[in-house]
């Protein structure tokens, strides 16, 4: 189930500050690679100037792992996610998912996506919103699977409710259920819980972990919450803004399933401190570079 099932109870955290580092060694076996980014650069041209959103980013993660991109706004983490979802094209460099192009994955209906806004269709019930991706893909989600998903996200009894009747947390659960309804190979999530309060958010993280563990999907979550990253990830990629670069790459070995008691352990705090240090170092560096310009 989890790639780190036999991890020791005490986490082994290795900080590898590696801007522009070479891809992981494991890429030699294509079979085990989840997704990989090679020398990825993205430049946005606006009226007045060019903005480098991503500067030569390389990264490779194993299949079935849970990766978190952590960074402040403007560090290009959402850009990476949008390129993996084939919503944007790199200016240079290459993106592959399970050895194929994002476009091939998207067209083959093997992609799951959740955004910060749950983006539920207000005229559809919970059930019909979860059925939607299957309808678009002409690959209907069986009724039993829909019911099972509704049960898994704890919305029994709300099958026929419209989104307007649900709270923010419930809407986001529907969005997560919808994202995994078609059993995608890769699950991309762009700050799906960003608008929720801290307590709801933690519950959602636990549910997400459970749902992901039950699937075989390679997951990528974008966030700016340090504790969310430390709680969910097998590996946290820390990014700095303008231009977006990788400033830290931390493997997190807490055994799964992780519960909320983990949040109060010294080990968890040590990981959070480490992420925080990397995040601020990257931020300060970028600010200095900006000032020097």
């Amino acid at each position: 189930m989890t790639p780190h099932g036999g991890a020791p109870p005490v986490p082994r955290c290795a900080a590898v500050p590696s801007p522009g580092s070479t891809p992981n060694e494991s890429t030699t076996h294509v079979d085990t690679t989840g997704f990989s980014l090679t020398d990825l650069t993205k430049v946005y041209s606006t009226k007045h100037r060019d903005v480098v959103a991503l500067d030569n980013v390389s990264l490779s993660v194993p299949r079935g792992s849970f990766t978190v991109l952590l960074g402040p706004s403007g560090c290009g983490k959402s850009t990476i996610l949008r390129m993996l979802a084939d919503l944007e094209q790199p200016s240079s460099g290459e993106v592959t998912i399970h050895g194929e192009s994002p476009e091939a994955i998207r067209k083959a209906h093997r992609l799951g996506l959740a955004l910060q806004d749950p983006s539920l269709l207000p005229w559809r019930s919970v059930r019909d919103n979860i059925r939607l991706p299957g309808q678009v893909m002409r690959k209907p989600v069986p009724k039993e699977r829909v019911d099972e998903l509704i049960h898994m996200v704890g919305l029994d009894g709300f099958q026929d409710a419209r989104p307007a009747q649900l709270s923010g947390g419930m809407r986001q659960r529907v969005a997560i259920a919808r994202a995994i309804a078609t059993e995608p190979e890769i699950l991309l999530m762009d700050e799906p819980f960003g608008a929720l309060d801290e307590i709801t958010r933690q519950r959602m993280n636990e549910e997400l972990q459970r749902l992901w563990s039950a699937s075989n999907a390679t997951a990528l979550l974008v966030t700016h919450s340090i504790s969310e990253a430390a709680f969910l990830a097998d590996r946290v990629i820390v990014m700095s803004p303008r231009p977006g670069r990788i400033v830290g790459d931390i493997t997190i070995d807490f055994p799964r399933p992780r519960g909320r008691d983990l949040l109060t352990t010294p080990e968890f705090h040590r990981v959070c401190d480490q992420l925080s240090t990397l995040l601020h170092a990257g931020h300060d560096e970028a600010a200095e570079a900006g000032a020097a310009e």
Binding site: L87, K107, L115, L121, V136
Partner: protein, 555 residues
């Protein structure tokens, strides 16, 4: 957890539960009482006004030839019932077909434009031209081209077409950006986006378009009957106006109002039933494809689109003559009109006559337009400041919105005379109602927190109005000002056609009866151009205002 607030409330101590129940009952009965009393007040005010109307008419106004008493209208309706019914059937059938075709074409085009943006850039201006084509100018041209019945149906569909087109496009575009992104990520193409997201999202706007189209269809159908018709409500209206038959004119006005407002109300109801979900739960805006590149490049592209549109419009004019095989005697091409106004003998006189008529029309339309805007905003502010006035008069204003201007014109002309006053009142009224409604809506969209903030500064009512409410409402005011611009030209020319004997409206009547077809086409072209320029100026002002007050609404 998410339903917890409700359950937690239930878990309170019993004495609290009792207090809560009592409070809830109090609030509910208070709101029911206020709703009932609001309607009751409206009904009472209407009855009082009706009584006053009867009284004034009986005592004085009917003798002065201003308005007919309600009793006289009723009498006329009863005595000539069979005539009114047969006329209603004739006009209603034309209105129904025109309404159907106009809306159908508009919805299909809206879908095409949204799916293929290049088509929109080129053809939306053509569609806008169709909207700015004052039906005063189109009516005689259509009568020259088609069978009388077909011409009336086409005229009706033209008067319905544009608002549905724009409304549907807005509706399809209002689709949530996140949902569209998801459909793309699931491997869905533009058709999937259309089917699963855009069309359902557009349903409310489409229904609104169908609703607004009802009075517009009545207008088109009746105005079509002003030329060469033998039966129909339009004929009765003209005859009544010519013979100064007050009860006749008012009876037709009542029938047409009923014909328009009953379906209008039904569509409003239908929208509430069909669209029970509450909008606005997700607010991610759709990404729009903005033109990028250097300012010069953007200007060149913009100019190219405008030039392309002008070419398309002129080609459409020429194509109209060819496709419908209009005889060269009555059908004049852009070149013919150009020659008449700039090359041929007598070009200077033709230009002078046209210019004089144009000036008159501009005064008629402009004065009424500005007056309608100012009064509309003022009344809306009054309504929001004194909610009592709003409760009483809003149902009345909504009802009056469904009255087609075509029946207001004869009524107002009889009441106010054929001079400047009558025409200005007409253009003012057609501008007034949409402005009032839009401004009212806009004033209510000010965020509640902004008022709380102003309250913490102890701001006065006037400060609130000036610093907060009016700036928030500017986009809504300008939206209605833009739509009202061609309508005011239309209203002015309709009044000129029917009553005043000057201006472009009258010039068109004269050109038609004198078989001066080149002059007819020239007047139609100038009138359309004026409408377009008027619309363009207001749009430009709107963009300036939006840039400062609502940058999010700019594409």
């Amino acid at each position: 957890m998410s339903v917890a607030p409700a359950t937690r409330r239930e878990r309170r101590t019993p004495d609290h539960t009792a207090q809560i129940a009592a409070e809830r009952a109090r609030v509910r009965s208070a709101s029911r009482r206020s709703a009932v009393s609001g309607w009751l007040t409206t009904v009472v005010v209407c009855l009082v006004m009706l009584g006053l109307w009867e009284l004034l008419a009986d005592l004085w106004l009917t003798r002065a030839g201003v308005l007919a008493a309600p009793s006289a209208i009723l009498q006329s309706l009863v005595e000539n019932a069979s005539l009114y019914v047969s006329s209603f059937l004739v006009t209603g059938w034309v209105a129904l077909r025109g309404w159907f075709w106009g809306n159908l074409v508009a919805i299909v085009l809206a879908v095409l434009f949204v799916q293929v943006p290049a088509l929109e850039s080129l053809f939306l201006r053509l569609a806008l031209t169709l909207f700015c084509l004052p039906i005063v100018a189109v009516n005689p041209l259509l009568q020259l081209t088609f069978e009388p019945d077909t011409a009336r149906v086409v005229l009706t569909s033209l008067s319905v077409f544009f608002t549905t087109l724009v409304g549907t496009m807005l509706g399809l575009r209002s689709a949530d950006g996140g949902s569209l992104t998801l459909v793309t990520a699931w491997g869905g193409g533009p058709l999937s986006s259309l089917r699963f997201v855009r069309v359902p999202a557009g349903v409310p706007a489409i229904l609104t378009g169908l609703q607004i189209g009802v009075p517009a269809a009545a207008l088109g159908a009746i105005f079509g009957e002003f030329i060469g018709a033998k039966s129909g409500l339009g004929v009765l209206l003209i005859n009544g106006l010519m013979g100064l038959d007050l009860p006749r004119v008012w009876s037709v006005a009542v029938i047409v109002t009923a014909m328009a407002s009953v379906p209008y109300a039904l569509f409003g109801l239908l929208r509430r039933v069909l669209v029970p979900w509450s909008a606005g739960i997700s607010t991610a805006p759709a990404r729009s494809a903005a033109v990028t590149g250097s300012p010069l490049r953007r200007m060149l592209i913009g100019t190219a689109w405008v030039a392309g549109s002008v070419v398309v419009i002129l080609l459409a004019w020429q194509a109209y003559l060819v496709v419908f095989d209009v005889s060269p005697f009555v059908g004049k091409s852009p070149l013919d009109v150009f020659n008449r106004l700039f090359v041929d003998e007598g070009a200077a006189e033709a230009r002078a006559a046209l210019g004089e008529a144009l000036l008159v029309t501009l005064v008629h339309a402009g004065v009424g337009y500005v007056a309608g805007l100012v009064i509309g905003v003022a009344v809306a502010v009054l309504f929001v400041t004194f909610p009592v006035a709003e409760r009483v008069f809003t149902p009345l204003a909504v009802a009056l919105r469904s009255v087609p201007i075509i029946v207001l014109i004869p009524v107002l002309i009889l009441a106010l005379g054929r001079g400047l006053g009558g025409v200005v009142a007409i253009t003012a009224i057609v501008t007034f109602f949409p402005t009032l409604a839009n401004t009212q809506t806009g004033l209510k969209q000010v965020p509640a927190d902004a008022f709380i903030l102003m309250r913490s500064y102890d701001a006065s009512v006037w400060t609130n109005l000036w610093r907060l409410q009016l700036p928030y409402t500017l986009p809504a005011i300008f939206a209605s000002a833009r739509i009202a611009a061609p309508t005011s030209v239309l209203a002015a020319t309709l009044a000129e056609w029917l009553a005043t004997g000057d201006g472009l409206g009258h010039a068109i009547v004269m050109a038609r009866s004198g078989s001066a077809y080149t002059d007819l086409w020239a007047a139609a072209a100038v009138l359309t151009l004026v409408s377009l320029v008027f619309y363009g100026i207001v749009s430009w002002a709107e963009r300036l205002v939006l840039r400062r007050f609502a940058p999010g609404q700019l594409a």
